[in-house]
C-alpha cells in the first residue's frame, strides 16, 4: 500500500504501538516525530508523507496546534489527519473537528479500530 505515515507522539511506547499496529495491518512506510514542531519539520523535509497520525497532548506543540498548522499551509492542507488521544470528552472532540481533523480515535485503541478509521478516511 502506497502510504507513508507520520506518527506523532511524545511517548516512545505509543509511537512503537502505532507503528507496530500499522505494520500488522499491512503498511510499511513510517516517519516518527516527538511533537508538533518536530512533525512540521518532518513534513517539510519529507514530501512523500501522505498521512498523519497524531497525539493531542505533547510538549512544544500540541496535536491540535499541529492540525491547525497543517490545515493552514497550502502544501499540506489536504493531508489526512487522524487524532489518537486519551481525550474523549465531547468538548475536546468538537474542538478537534473544528480544527479539521479527519477522524478521531481514543486510547486505548485496537488494531481493528485504527484500521477502520484509516480505511474510512482514505475512502473519503
Amino acid at each position: 500500500m502506497n502510504r507513508k505515515f507520520l506518527v506523532v507522539d511524545d511517548s516512545v511506547t505509543m509511537r512503537r504501538i502505532v507503528v507496530n499496529t500499522l505494520k500488522s495491518i499491512g503498511y510499511d512506510q513510517f516517519v516518527e516525530a516527538q511533537d508538533g514542531k518536530d512533525a512540521l519539520d518532518k513534513l517539510v523535509s519529507d514530501t512523500e508523507i501522505n498521512f498523519v497520525i497524531t497525539d493531542w497532548n505533547m510538549p512544544v506543540m500540541s496535536g491540535l496546534e499541529l492540525t491547525k498548522a497543517i490545515r493552514s499551509a497550502d502544501s499540506t492542507k489536504a493531508l489526512p489527519i487522524l487524532m489518537v488521544t486519551t481525550r474523549g470528552v465531547k468538548e475536546d472532540i468538537v474542538q478537534a473537528l473544528q480544527a479539521k481533523v479527519s477522524n478521531y480515535v481514543v486510547k486505548p485503541f485496537t488494531p481493528q479500530i485504527l484500521k477502520d478509521k484509516i480505511d474510512l478516511i482514505l475512502s473519503n
Binding site: 511506547t13 512503537r16 493531542w56 497532548n57 486519551t86 474523549g88 473537528l97 480515535v105 488494531p111
Partner: protein, 251 residues
Amino acid sequence: MSESVKSLNDIVDKLHEMDNVFKFGEKMIPVIEAFVSFITDFIPFIEQVSGSIEETRSKIPEASNQLDKVTNATELAMTEVLDKIDEISALLGELTESINELVEHRVSAENLVNELYQELGENEKAKILVRKIIEQMDVSLTLELMKNKVNNIMSSTDQITMSLQVQDITAQQLAAVNHLIISVQQKLGGLLNAVSATGIHVNEDLKQEKLPNVHFDANASYNPSANQQVDVDSIINNEKASQEEIDKLFS
C-alpha cells in the same frame, strides 16, 4: 466676647482634647504591651512554620524527580516488552510460513502416493498398504490446529500491545500529579517570600520554580471497552451532521 477670650477658650478646648488623648494612651499602653508581647511570642512560631514549609518545599523536587523516574522506567520496560513482542511476532510469522510449507509438501506427497496407487494395478496387498500410508500421512487436521494456535498467540500479542497503551495513560496521570505538586511548591515559595518580606529570617533560596513544559490529559483513564470509541463516533457523527446543516445554511 472679645477675641482674646475666644482664643483662650480654644486653647482650653485643645488642652482638654490632649488630656483625653493622654488618658486614652494610658489605657492603651497595656493593650499595646500585650500586642508587642504577642508578636514577640509569635515570631518564633512563624519562623518554625516557615522552617517546616522550607523543609516540605525542599522535598518536592525529589518527589517530582521520583515521578519522572517512574515514567522513564516504565517507558523503558515497555520498550523492552515491545521488543520481545516484535521477536515473538517474527517467530510466529516464520512458524506460519513453515506450516504452510508443510501443507504444500503434504499435498505433493499425497499426489505422488495417489499416482503410485494407480500404478499398482491388481496388487491388492500393495494397494492396502498404500491406503494405510495415505491415512498415516493425513496430518491436515493437526496442521489446521497448529495454524489456529499460532493465530491465537498472534491475537494475544495484539491484545498485549493494546494493553501497553496503559503506559501512556499512566504517564499522563503522573504528569498531572507532578504538575500539581510543583504548583504546591510554587505556592509555598510565594508564602516564604511573604514571610521573608516581614523581616523574619528564611533560609530557603526563594527563587520560584517554573512549571515544567509538560502537556497532559489530567482525565486520562484506561478503559479498554470498545464502547468508548462508539461514544466518540456517535459524537463525531452528530457534530458532523450539525456542521453540515450549518454549511447548508451558508451555501
